[in-house]
């Protein structure tokens, strides 16, 4: 065989491997999702269901609207805790575990670019959080709807029996209760929780690309999470105390700039409370969260791309 023919044969046997493949990312995403689901993480949903059932049966002597609000606050609080706790723990565990089990070797020894591996892991965590949040939302909406119907019927009956109220008054009173019931707006609260969890997961992934252990990753990510909620508030105090000193310039200001500001994602609480939210505000929040995730993932990739195992 001639050299040219030989070269052609070689050429044909070298497979075309796309440098970026959404298909491979999806495979890694689904594998991460299956891994997390089979780690029995969804058992949390049972705890959640019990909690919501308990909260919806709390019969303190408060107004009907308050009863509904309490159920909403308890449920969204639980969803919030689950989402960020899970974002930190799951993301911190996944990459070191792959490394310890040498699964990482077998995956990276296949034609998988490291960017795809990282994105697959991140999206897997996000998919798990997303599915869990949707299930929780459905469960919670069911309980809230049932509670709302019961409370409204009882209130209507009580108001009519009491007498002295016009039908408009009764209607207005019932409207106040409905305002705390099932509303489309609650979905925005769910989105806000998810976005915050996404940023937390991206930050944790960045930490895990340079951390030496899972525990270290969890601790550092939790500290960043907590500090990210009050550093802008604390900054005022520190900078006031330190003035224009060298410490202020070299330590406090850069630290504040580097750590994400999570306060802006705390809109969930008031959306649940009934504060109206515009689509524009939600889009701004989505944009900011995506920006955070993109930048932190890019930095994580920069550290991970030539990391040696």
């Amino acid at each position: 065989m001639s050299e040219a023919a030989n070269a052609e044969t070689e050429e044909r046997t070298v497979p075309r491997v796309p440098l970026f493949s959404p298909g491979r990312i999806w495979v890694l995403t689904m594998s991460t999702f299956t891994q997390l689901v089979r780690m029995k993480t969804f058992y949390f949903l049972i705890i959640f269901a019990v909690l919501v059932a308990a909260a919806s049966n709390l019969n303190l002597l408060y107004t009907p609207a308050q009863k509904l609000r309490m159920l909403k606050d308890a449920s969204f609080g639980a969803m919030s805790i689950f989402s960020w706790l899970f974002a930190i723990a799951a993301t911190a565990v996944l990459i070191p575990r792959d490394l310890e089990d040498r699964t990482l070797y077998t995956i990276l020894a296949k034609p998988v670019p490291r960017l795809e591996y990282l994105l697959g892991k991140l999206f897997g965590v996000l998919l798990t959080i997303g599915v869990a949040l949707v299930v929780m939302q459905v469960l919670f909406t069911g309980f809230l709807f049932f509670r709302e119907v019961t409370v409204l019927a009882a209130e209507r009956q009580a108001l009519e029996a009491q007498g002295g109220m016009s039908p408009e008054d009764i209607q207005a009173q019932l409207e106040l209760i409905r305002a705390q019931g099932v509303q489309w707006q609650l979905l925005y609260a769910l989105v806000a929780i998810f976005l915050k969890a996404g940023v937390v997961a991206a930050v944790t992934m960045l930490v895990s690309t340079f951390a030496s252990s899972t525990l270290f990753t969890m601790i550092v990510a939790t500290i960043i999470f907590l500090v990210g909620h009050f550093h802008k508030l604390a900054a005022g105090y520190w900078l006031h105390e330190l003035g224009d000193s060298l410490v202020a310039k070299l330590v406090v200001k850069p630290v504040i700039m580097i750590i994400p500001d999570f306060r802006v994602f705390n809109v969930t609480e008031n959306i649940v409370g009934g504060t109206p939210v515009t689509t524009g505000a939600m889009l701004a929040l989505v944009g900011l969260a995506l920006l955070y995730m993109a930048v932190y993932s890019a930095v994580a990739l920069y550290l991970f791309i030539d990391k040696e195992f």
Partner: protein
């Protein structure tokens, strides 16, 4: 060598994050300001909280678990109420409303505990306390309830409910018709007032010395709105004012038909046949 590369990478990562921070901070600050202005984010005074509930709770509050802390405090207050520990109830509601300043029901419930429950408890629950002291303590609790509601009104100036609650306390607990009327008026001007509020404004304005003419004109205006407003109290209050103001007989409203009145009160009752 490797060590140099690690250092270079660390510096590069910190620089990247710093640049990102510098770029996003103005954007985030603007967003936060807008969200605070539109009520989507509530800024909580942490210094007040930390002395009352401890650092870890403050962290929970800042971490987005504000409503959960409020629920805990609500349950705590409920417990304290059952043991009649009024100071604890008061402290808890002050914290709850710090956490959820927009939650009208919390302001209302807190004020109700102070002005009604705690004030009554101060009068009757401890037989060893001299009556005069009990009365003073009771009044102090009523005033606390009023002060509490006023803070709620500062945070929610458009709330008809809070003005109405305040008017109710002035009316029922302090028997101050002028102040009650003032707050029923504010309740009328607030957000979604209940339909009886204008009538109550008129009723208590009628009891406010020197404002009888104003009250008469207002109640007459309601009277002319039609049957819906012509409730027995409204008619009797107008009758009282007609006497007081010496309104000429031709301008007076007709006396109510007792049969019609009884039917209004008990719609299922059959009228007595002559």
């Amino acid at each position: 060598m490797k060590f140099g590369r690690t250092t270079r990478k660390t510096v590069a990562v910190l620089a990247l994050l710093l640049v990102f921070g510098l770029l996003r901070t103005p954007l985030e600050s603007r967003m936060t300001e807008k969200f605070v202005a539109s009520g989507l984010i509530t800024e909580v005074s942490t210094s007040q909280l930390s002395s009352a509930v401890g650092q870890s709770t403050v962290l929970a509050v800042l971490g987005g678990l504000r409503p959960l802390v409020a629920i805990y405090l609500t349950l705590h207050a409920f417990d304290a109420w059952s043991y009649r520990e009024w100071d604890t109830v008061e402290r808890d509601y002050r914290l709850i409303t710090t956490l959820l300043p927009e939650d009208i029901d919390s302001w209302k419930t807190g004020a109700w505990h102070m002005a009604y429950n705690a004030s009554a408890s101060a009068l009757y629950d401890d037989p060893d306390i001299p009556e005069a002291v009990g009365k003073k303590n009771s009044r102090d609790w009523i005033l606390k309830g009023i002060e509490f509601l006023k803070r709620g009104i500062e945070q929610n100036p458009d709330s008809s409910t809070l003005h109405q609650e305040l008017a109710d306390i002035y009316r029922q607990k302090l028997e101050e018709p002028c102040l009650a009327a003032r707050h029923y008026k504010l309740a009328m001007e607030g957000d979604r007032p209940r339909s009886f509020v204008p009538r109550f404004y008129g009723y208590f304005l009628a009891r406010c010395p020197g404002r009888e003419r104003e009250a008469y004109d207002f109640l007459m205006e309601l009277y002319h709105q039609g049957e819906k407003q012509r409730l027995p109290t409204l008619i009797s209050r107008i009758k009282e004012l007609e006497e007081k103001l010496d309104v000429p007989a031709t301008h007076r409203i007709p006396d109510p038909d007792p049969d019609v009145e009884i039917l209004k009160k008990y719609p299922h009752a059959k009228p007595a046949l002559p």
